[in-house]
Symmetry: C2
Subunit: 681 residues, 2 copies
């Protein structure tokens, strides 16, 4: 029997490989649906949305045992012509709702036509995140009212959703209901509805209705930091990041760091209200900025996801953070929260929804939860330490069987605060520094320029930005270099005896300091600066050691530094200073803005919300403040260096002779015996 006489034909979808025989005349989209092939559609097969585009590769596909020919589909239809003339259907593509089977074909579903397309950002080594937004668009054609069978306009919308999309048990927000009748008539009974799919079926809600066909809606993922607020605007249907921006957190005027903001509230009852208003205003400004940049109507923003540390979390939600300022550091809630954007005074679509990730504990916030969601330590086998360094360091340690979390009171030294010449990471701040082993002369780079200070043209840099201070990553490098060059001893003292040989080492009251720069302002590292960093790194190390103890491990397989600090510092120097327990250097990396990525994942993937809610519940929370062991680790971790192998390796890497102070220590360990030799380096 020839192909022409057959009543059905074989269809093979790629890349899924799903295949089946279908009656001649069956639309490709229908065949795909019955095989469970993932093809997107907003218009429900009406050739309006163009989301269901497919490609027909021609030729013999031995692997699939099929000869595919483009003319084994019906001819290009007038409906496709119309779509193409309006929206330009690329050559070789068909709308799968219009293309019908006439003979055997292979149908390639390009990534952009899949509902569950992979979101661009990958979860480190673990798995990709598929697009699975909570808010989706549905184009429907609604029955007109009929006096003989009176029913509400809304109920006819429900009927259309049921008949055309098999969606049932939907509710509608009042504000959407208030405009529904006008929109239906404006669209001549053809409308697009946005449905917010609650994780419980009875919570599915129509949150917007547009006349006719609406193509795109947006969501914003936000990371509310103590210092900066970052926003990432995403198109929910395609998973495309269309804009990102950051802004200083205006709460800084109430206090530089978190605890000073809590103190502000304690000292100024009602002060939390002002701080809440300030952060919400900044959020509105930032959302205004990203939507303007992407030239998007604010009304098309239907979702916002927030992450932040516990105090930012509470202030955002309008909860007085006083309880977080002292033991027992009780969170108002450690669950996720779903709200209307209007409940927290955000200006966008009136029925837009807000999802706030859960905090892990009183000191370990929703930002840390987002880091977990982004990195996925709960999905792998390594004993993985993830550290998010801010004013407090939040630490996550574990693997797929067990995950622990704590925070360490590092204080703001890593952010450049409490350092004599410290400053925030901003143009003019020293961020890289090297010390000549012979002359002990420094060379450095400032933010805003790629030139080293001893290179030609640096004068221009001085003119443009100045050399204004030293930022977090700069102070780490400065100290590590000073230590490597013997300027700082193992116990953290600036070695005054070297003042004789180098004019950079100068007497400074009873102690000594290292002079980096004599410009409009002098920039130096003082003995007190070293002590501040010692305290901070001691706390960070102690937190990690405590978690390792609780997990019952003595070595780490992997370390990731998340957050701005983590992306700016050279992890080598962090290891030189012994900020963290030993780990093979190749396995120490920075994750960039993992909290922002986690927020974006939660925005784009509804299952990710359930996932992180579950994981957060299961994480073991360790409170450093009540663990006597923490204090022990802390005291023991103040000295330099904690890591010797990394030091040796580093010394070679940077091609410098071994520093005097540590040259003798060989492969040994500093006192206390708390750490064992690593075997695998």
């Amino acid at each position: 029997m020839s192909d022409e006489e057959k009543n059905d034909a074989l269809i093979v979808f790629t890349p899924s490989g799903k295949r089946g025989r279908f009656d001649i005349g069956t639309p490709i989209l229908s065949a795909a649906r019955s095989l469970g092939v993932d093809i997107d559609s907003v218009c429900g097969g009406r050739a309006i949305c163009g989301r269901c585009q497919v490609i027909v590769p021609e030729g013999e596909f031995a692997k699939h045992g099929i000869v595919s020919r483009a003319d084994h589909l019906n001819e290009f239809t007038s409906v496709e012509d119309r779509y193409s003339s309006k929206r330009n259907l690329k050559s070789g593509r068909r709308l799968s709702c219009q293309a019908r089977i006439q003979g055997d074909v292979v149908i390639e579903v390009p990534p952009e036509s899949q509902v569950h397309k992979q979101v661009v950002r990958k979860r480190a080594d673990v798995r990709d995140i598929a697009l699975d937004p909570v808010t989706r668009l549905y184009y429907i054609e609604v029955d007109e009212p009929d006096m003989h069978h009176p029913s509400g306009d809304l109920e006819r919308v429900y009927k259309a959703l049921h008949d055309q999309w098999e969606i049932e048990q939907v509710y509608t927000d009042l504000r959407t209901l208030q405009t529904l009748q006008k929109v239906l008539r404006q669209g001549e009974w053809k409308v697009t509805v946005a449905i917010y799919h609650g994780h419980i079926r009875s919570r599915d809600r129509i949150i917007s209705v547009w006349p006719g066909f609406q193509d795109k809606v947006y969501g914003v993922a936000m990371d509310i930091g103590s210092t900066t607020i970052a926003a990432h605007l995403w198109e929910l249907g395609s998973g495309k990041n269309v804009a990102s921006a950051g802004l200083m957190n205006p709460q800084i005027r109430f206090g530089e760091d978190l605890m000073s903001r809590v103190s502000y509230v304690m000292m100024n009852p009602g002060g939390d209200v002002d701080m809440t208003a300030a952060v919400r205003e900044a959020i509105n400004a930032l959302i205004g900025q990203v939507t303007a940049e992407a030239m998007i109507d604010l009304n098309d923003v239907l979702e916002v996801v927030f992450v932040g540390n516990p105090i930012m979390h509470h202030l955002l939600l309008g909860i007085d953070p006083t309880e977080l300022g002292g033991a027992p550091f009780a969170l108002a809630t450690n669950s996720s929260k779903t709200l209307w954007a209007s409940e927290i005074d955000l200006h966008m679509h009136p029925d837009a929804r807000v999802y706030v990730l859960p905090c892990i504990a009183g000191h370990v916030g929703a930002d840390a939860a987002a880091v977990v969601l982004s990195e996925g330590p709960h999905l792998q086998d390594d004993n993985w330490l993830i550290v998010d360094v801010g004013t407090n360091a939040e630490l996550i340690l574990g693997n797929k069987d067990r995950l622990l979390a704590c925070s360490s009171p590092t204080g703001p030294a890593f952010e450049g605060a409490q350092i004599s010449c410290g400053q925030r990471a901003a143009p003019g701040a020293i961020e890289r520094l090297r010390i000549d082993p012979e002359t002990l002369e420094p060379r450095f780079k400032v933010i805003g320029s790629d030139l080293w200070s001893d290179e030609d043209g640096f004068d221009e840099v001085i003119e443009r930005t100045g050399v204004t201070g030293i930022c977090g990553s700069g102070i780490i490098e400065a100290l590590a270099e000073m230590f490597l060059k013997g300027i700082i001893t193992r116990d953290g003292a600036i070695d005054g005896s070297m003042a004789a040989t180098s004019p950079r080492i100068q007497e400074d009251g009873r102690t000594f300091s290292y002079l980096i720069w004599e410009g409009e302002q002098e920039i130096r590292v003082t003995q007190n600066d070293v002590r501040q960093i010692q305290l901070a790194k001691g706390a960070l190390y102690a937190g990690a050691a405590l978690l390792m103890e609780h997990l019952g491990i003595t070595t780490l397989d992997r370390i990731t530094l998340a957050g701005a600090f983590g992306s700016h510092i050279d992890v080598k120097y962090a290891m030189v200073l012994g900020m963290l327990p030993d780990c093979e250097l190749a396995k120490v990396s920075s994750a960039g803005n993992a909290a922002g990525s986690g927020a974006s994942i939660a925005l784009l993937n509804s299952k990710a919300r359930r996932e992180i809610e579950k994981v957060v519940k299961e994480i073991e929370k360790i409170e450093t403040a009540v663990e006597p062991k923490f204090q022990e680790h802390f005291v023991g971790a103040m000295g330099f260096p904690h890591a010797t192998d990394p030091y040796e390796k580093l010394a070679q890497e940077v091609q410098l002779p071994k520093p005097k102070a540590t040259a003798q220590s060989g492969g040994g360990r500093d006192g206390g015996g708390r750490r064992r030799r690593r075997d695998r380096v």
Copy 2:
């Protein structure tokens, strides 16, 4: 074996008759719970709320085979002493959470100690409504935060609800969460929470938290009429009506009747916003008034239930009612609606909930749904016609198998509008009228006085209120009396020939009028007034006839007139005028404010909400505007009288001779043969 040696004892609860044997020492409350005996408790057995009071009748109860003795319970405990000293425990009563079984006893549960106590108002002849409020109070003792096991304060509240009340899967509104931490500490971890029990389990929500023990919360049932707004304040825990009040609907300034308000919106785009604001302001004023009257904190009002005609329903919710102003009269929604009070700008507890009953059709509102809920035609066998007369008459006809609804465009004549001397029911308005069959002189009563106009002292009435006009019930009686005394003919003409014998019948242009009063202002019934009432009653009759036809019946078993008009008119006169199809007069009654009662039932009984939602869906909606038969019935029903038997009977009742114009008609019917002889009179 003597009683003393037994390890258990018999306990019989009355009035339920439930019985069982329990170990000596078992608290009565526990025994009651294990037997499923309905005893209230807010504090969960902590002797705080006193809701679980019981009485121990002594003596031999042959019926139950038990000898009951008060000393078969433990002695009055110190806890009961403390409760009694604070709140006065009536003599002979025990707190069932403290009283323990020592021997056989009968325990009487007084009605006020039952959770599901009967609500005072009865559903006519059908069944009582048991108290089953949607919002309930739970006293809990919450674990304090523990650094070693960090969890949110809210999650420990959930744990307490689970452990102490077996309540799970609760969510919490943001506003309640914002104050939670302070309230918990203020109450020293003992708090009362109010939970709004959604009909879907996942919708249970904590909507308020008070420090310590909170005894009472309140709800308001509101009927939003075109002319008046009525509010009934209820204590949700006891089902006690603590205050009621009414107020003019301020929307009247935008138009007297509904259609003129819709026209206002059509002519003034955005005018609906002003009307919405006006009605919400009035609602707030009225709720302020009832709470002030009952000396209740506005913050303790946690629920409001609304009913109203479709246009009021839409305006209340902020929905432009334009679509209801013309065919096909499409409702925005015909479902019930649950909202936050704040969504419609109501001032009370910030998380108070609003429930709006469903509208039945474009002309048949949530007020009609409330009437159905209150009267229960869907629960009985009779062919029952329920009519709510307002500017439109809403009609419900049927029984437990089938229920139909329609509205008739009666216009506002029954409310005294479009009548030359008509006015709203207010002091000074004529509401009762009799005409002497010989002299044709009228005597009447005005609202605000019990005196007839020919009685001594009426001068004072004139001075106090004046005789200012004639209200709806007055015009009905006037016309019926005029008809009975032969002043009006069967076709509705005022008989000019009688002008010769009575000075009351006066020439009035080309027609005649009947002079009732010559005071500061003349009050008369004009020929046009008669026509207006004929049109109104023709429409009302036609609606009823149409429903009967659809139901396939020719006689009614029962008629109920609901609403203000229904309670004010003398149903006899309504029947004389042929306002409604024949029915045995004893079976014609008025139901008073059935819509307000229905709203109250929905407020006090959560199942009633599901019940009316279901019934409303099942009601067959008849649109009079598209039924040609309606017009036929309408034209045929304009003349007087439609009822002859009632007339004859009434003529005897009011002890007046038969009017000339109808004396000859005997038991026959007026032309058209549309109505058959009733057999049962």
